[in-house]
Symmetry: C2
Subunit: 359 residues, 2 copies
DNA sequence: CCGGTTTAGCAAACCGGTTTAGGCGACGCT
DNA sequence: AGCGTCGCCTAAACCGGTTTGCTAAACCGG
């Protein structure tokens, strides 16, 4: 008997009923003491509080969620494994923006990623009031699942759906700026380093981020009368080694660009490294433009010319929009597109004169 | 009437009772259909399932948590704001390790950080089965709060408590290696760049990570008969600008070290930058050793000699230990200390001969 | 001393599931 | 025919809170 008591005392956390009976009041009174102290006589309230305190009582958050019908936390949904997300500086900055907005509004953060291979299962388990989905293409069935579950969702870096709120960045315009910058420096021979997540097969999503950036490159080049043959487009995952491999592949296949358009800063840095290994100087022989403007771009050597996008602000805005929707504001689906801009640093310069002949 | 119905249909998600009555069975049957289909006749089970499907029914995760008494998610607790955590590459790698172990065990991830300034409140709200606390010193009252709440917890990078499971790294040993490396290269004049989180005042925690590293430095220097005066220890936050400022402070105060012992890679890189700005060459005039071995160290120019610690593995181990505890294994509090090692790269070299005289 | 208004606190319903303890009819066996 | 067993399903209790009436006592003015 006594042993059981002790075990229970150690193992079971006190419930509201325990506090109620210990204080000689009803559960209601205890609840009031915490949530609407005004409805109790002042000394009753404080007595209940002190009893609760000595018992070590904390209202059970799950029970609370159930009755209140909300969790006060929001989910970040990514199709990649979380390990990849956390290691990636781009997501680091994005998540920082998310965190700022969430903390300001008093929401906790919950990460939803494929659980045992199934995003669907993970979504089903998630106790969140709403979701910010990152990098989800329209063909992901989860989008439909979440909508049917009635979970408010804001899409980011995804193929936009007309009736789904989203925060985007002007990828196409940014890409155009990058290409125009190089064209303006006299470059005529290009290689494009495209990116694709390693896990997904459908790199063909016509509305995905890579497709939009490619359209921008193409538009600027076409305007200058420059052709971009298929073999000048090489795809890898968005990492430094990936970029190095892509550049190597193009170069070793005999292509002789004077400029590289990279869809991410990481691939750009990888390309610079591979170029240097082949005895080329950046920007003397080859100019490189990245995309995103993560920290890496500033610290690279030479500092990387790149397209800046407001990564953290994108996260912030997405959360703000989501919270507005949760609050019942924002009746219409809202789409917002943030601007991009060129940041010229040291990795781009004039096209070498007679580069081809000197070869 | 009809309007109300429609509104409900849109707004209210179907509950288990809705499914039950639609399928003409009891709630129990519906529950069984999802959780223990074997207890139902095969065609009953599939009929219920299809009814549930057309209704768009998903078991409510919060209700489930309440009855099952567990959330299947674990919390990462940090005293810093999440924005800082996510931007920091160290945490990025750590979290990646955490994510690997959590995903493997089918646990979701929940981040707990001061909510409206109060870590206590955030902990109270958190629906998690257990917590991995990072960089919490013993004087944080939250440690006690969590223990009283009966929430299993594993401490990481914290001042170890004897009865609390923890995963540590051999900070002192690593620091000793760093100092011995420099001593072995002939250095006799040192500056130590210590680190302290900007928010916390109590940089005095005698068991905190900085204190442990300082002990290691001191031990190695003392063994070589080298004094480390107080003014040779400068503190900043663990960022590149912080390190640059620290080095500048020491140098401009007239100190003329030939070697810098930095407690983080970021401060080390900052110091290298500040040194170069003063016309010093690294490692020609000044050698620099960092700590942690984050990606930055490899990519810095010159590549940074540093103390490697298994950051991601620390996260993985912490989660594994936590999950073992949740599973009822691991009766005794467990402490684990992972090894550190020196990674010699290009930022360290022999002490300059007659450096002082040439000045 | 009475009727009306506060005030303080309670019982019970509810949130949306899971789980225990049976109930009921069909079947097999003797 | 009687009885035990099994297969299939259900009623009701439960998880730990919040919230909605409602009641009984205290208070108040006339």
């Amino acid at each position: 008997m006594r042993v059981d008591d002790r075990v229970n005392q150690l193992v079971r956390r006190p419930t509201i009923s325990d506090v109620a009976s210990a204080a000689g009041v009803s559960k209601t009174a205890v609840s009031f003491a915490f949530n609407q102290p005004g409805r109790l006589a002042p000394n009753t309230a404080s007595r209940i509080r002190s009893v609760a305190d000595t018992l070590g009582y904390r209202p059970h958050p799950v029970a609370r969620m159930l009755t209140q019908g909300r969790t006060r936390s929001i989910g970040i949904l990514t199709p990649q494994a979380l390990a990849i997300v956390f290691e990636n500086p781009y997501f680091g900055t994005f998540n920082a923006g998310v965190a700022v907005a969430a903390e300001a509004a008093g929401y906790a953060l919950h990460f939803i990623s494929p659980l045992q291979g199934s995003l669907a299962r993970a979504v089903g388990r998630a106790t969140v009031d709403g979701v910010v989905a990152v990098g989800l293409s329209a063909d992901h069935p989860e989008v439909e699942q979440i909508r049917r579950a009635g979970l408010p969702m804001v899409l980011v870096d995804s193929s936009a759906l007309p009736d789904q709120p989203s925060i985007e960045v002007d990828d196409e315009g940014g890409a155009r700026l990058a290409a125009e910058h190089l064209v303006g420096l006299g470059h005529r021979a290009f290689v494009v380093l495209s990116i694709a997540p390693s896990e997904r097969v459908s790199g063909e999503d016509p509305d995905g981020v890579p497709a939009r950036r490619l359209r921008g490159y193409r538009a600027a080049l076409a305007a200058a009368g420059i052709a971009l043959p298929d073999e000048a487009i090489v795809t890898s995952e968005a990492t430094i080694p990936g970029g190095a491999a892509s550049f190597a592949e193009a170069w070793d296949a005999g292509q002789r660009p004077t400029a590289v358009l990279a869809m991410s800063d990481a691939t750009a840095v990888g390309a610079m490294r591979a170029a240097r290994e082949r005895g080329l100087s950046v920007p003397g022989d080859i100019s490189v433009v990245g995309f995103d403007d993560v920290d890496l771009a500033r610290f690279a050597d030479p500092a990387l010319t790149t397209i800046h996008q407001p990564i953290a602000r994108k996260g912030e805005q997405a959360v703000r929009l989501l919270i507005a929707i949760l609050g019942g504001d924002a009746a219409e689906p809202i789409h917002e597109t943030l601007a991009t801009r060129l940041v010229a640093r040291a990795s781009t310069g004039p096209a070498p004169i007679d580069r081809r002949r000197a070869d």
